[in-house]
């Protein structure tokens, strides 16, 4: 082990990326001798270096940037969420078709198009998601909580399926009205008159929703509501569209 000053300087040199070839050898040896100590020091020095921007003169980005970011993220979410939305009835056949057609096309025609790979990925993602949900439903202690639309004219309905052991819940809804632009649905648990955020979701074109949410059983014993909220808002301020009516 080298003198304290030397080994600390070696690690500082590593973090600043200025080790000479000779120093690199010494550093490698040090790393072999005291891996945990060196790893901790590297981490510490990197954290210190990452703090230096706080000493820069204050500068603030445009206030519009936050909304632009959340809008862009929301657009990506819609694409991602679509993968787990409840597929139409023909989906099973479509998935088999997509899987086999993609494989055959790739083999026979040597096609490796981006689109084909995307379709296969979608099919695989849907299949994995559905298998996982079926496995949840097979559990003996699974509990069901029914949702209804909050207005008499609403045809929206569905269930929250909770598996206490997995600490997960699956929300399945149908006839959910399409979302206005810049808005999304949020699920809340009402605990001691306060709304606790439990997830957000977007229905597919048929108004169906199938999403898996992390949730403990306890929380689902409270009343649950679905509200319509602006995407950039994290508070419950929009109208209630569905509830469990517990």
């Amino acid at each position: 082990m080298q003198p304290l000053e030397t080994w600390e300087e070696l690690v500082a040199g590593y973090v600043l990326e200025d080790l000479s070839p000779e120093e690199k050898k010494d550093f490698d040896q040090l790393l072999q001798e005291r891996p945990e100590l060196v790893a901790a020091e590297i981490r510490q020095l990197k954290e210190t270096l990452a703090l230096t921007p706080y000493a820069l003169p204050e500068a603030v980005p445009s206030s519009l940037l936050r909304n632009q970011l959340l809008e862009a993220a929301q657009q990506q979410t819609t694409t991602v969420t679509d993968l787990s939305l409840y597929p139409p009835r023909r989906s099973k056949a479509w998935m088999v078709w997509a899987g086999s057609a993609a494989a055959v096309a790739a083999l026979v025609f040597g096609l490796d198009s981006y689109r084909l790979r995307q379709e296969l990925q979608v099919a695989q993602a849907q299949l994995a998601e559905q298998r996982s949900i079926v496995s949840m439903l097979h559990q003996a202690n699974t509990r069901l909580v029914a949702f209804r639309g909050s207005t008499p004219s609403s045809k929206a309905s569905g269930n929250l399926v909770i598996t206490p052991t997995d600490k997960e819940a699956v929300l399945t809804l149908t006839n959910v009205p399409p979302l206005p632009k810049g808005q999304m649905y949020r699920l809340w648990a009402i605990v001691k008159s306060k709304k606790i955020p439990c997830g957000e979701f977007t229905p597919n074109a048929e108004g169906s929703v199938l999403v898996k949410l992390p949730m403990d059983d306890d929380i689902a014993h409270n009343p649950l509501v679905v509200t319509l909220e602006p995407t950039q808002s994290s508070t419950a301020s929009g109208p209630m569209v569905m509830s469990t009516g517990i």
Partner: protein, 204 residues
């Protein structure tokens, strides 16, 4: 401690962090982000958007380019969801990502800087509780770091700034300052070690 009590009493098991009842740690908010919660992204932007922009502006020296990069960094966090609290703080992750991408933009030799994105590899320590750094506001952080920077001799501070913000190698700095390479290296390393000594307790 108070925060955890509130969590246990109010949440009763809901594993989505409570954004409106207590102050969740970055790791907790990031967990919600991984679940696809855009509000969580908004919270992290509120916490780090300013400092990401500040760093981007310092390196790029162009407000529009700095805003574009700020958005790009947070969208990368949202899309890739590859931050891992085991490897270090979110601040460190975001600063590394921002600096790396900003320097890539100002230099043509992008390949050299891609190594900068290898953030926190081989690290094992796991923070279990919020650190003083996490609990501090942006203003408190700025004050602590500015005070610490002031204690550095000018030459140490200058070398650190040239390396960090301009992405200059030590030999480039030595050439620019007309100072022997060995001296520049020592100044940079001692500057970093001194800063670390002052800020160690704050980082936690």
């Amino acid at each position: 401690m108070v925060r955890l009590l509130i969590y246990a009493d109010e949440v009763r098991g809901c594993r989505i962090p409570l954004m409106n009842l207590s102050t969740p740690t970055d790791a907790e908010v990031f967990h919600a982000l991984k679940m696809g919660n855009t509000s969580a992204l908004g919270i992290l932007y509120d916490r780090y958007g300013g400092i990401v922009y500040r760093l981007a502006l310092k390196i790029l020296a162009d407000p529009q380019a700095a805003e574009d990069l700020t958005q790009e960094v947070f969208l990368a966090l949202w899309q890739k969801r590859n931050y891992d609290a085991i490897r270090g703080s979110l601040n460190s992750f975001l600063m590394t990502l921002t600096r790396s991408r900003a320097i890539d933009r100002i230099r043509s030799q992008g390949a050299r800087n891609r190594s900068l994105e290898r953030w926190g590899q081989n690290l094992e320590a796991m923070p279990t509780a919020p650190t003083p750094l996490e609990l501090a506001s942006v203003e408190e952080r700025a004050q602590r770091v500015q005070e610490a920077m002031k204690t550095l001799p000018d030459n140490q501070r200058r070398v650190l700034e040239m390396a960090y913000y301009a992405g200059m190698s030590q030999s480039e700095i030595a050439q620019k300052l007309n100072t022997p390479l060995g001296t520049v290296k020592t100044q940079g390393r001692q500057g970093l070690l001194k800063l670390n000594k002052i800020l160690k307790d704050f980082i936690g």
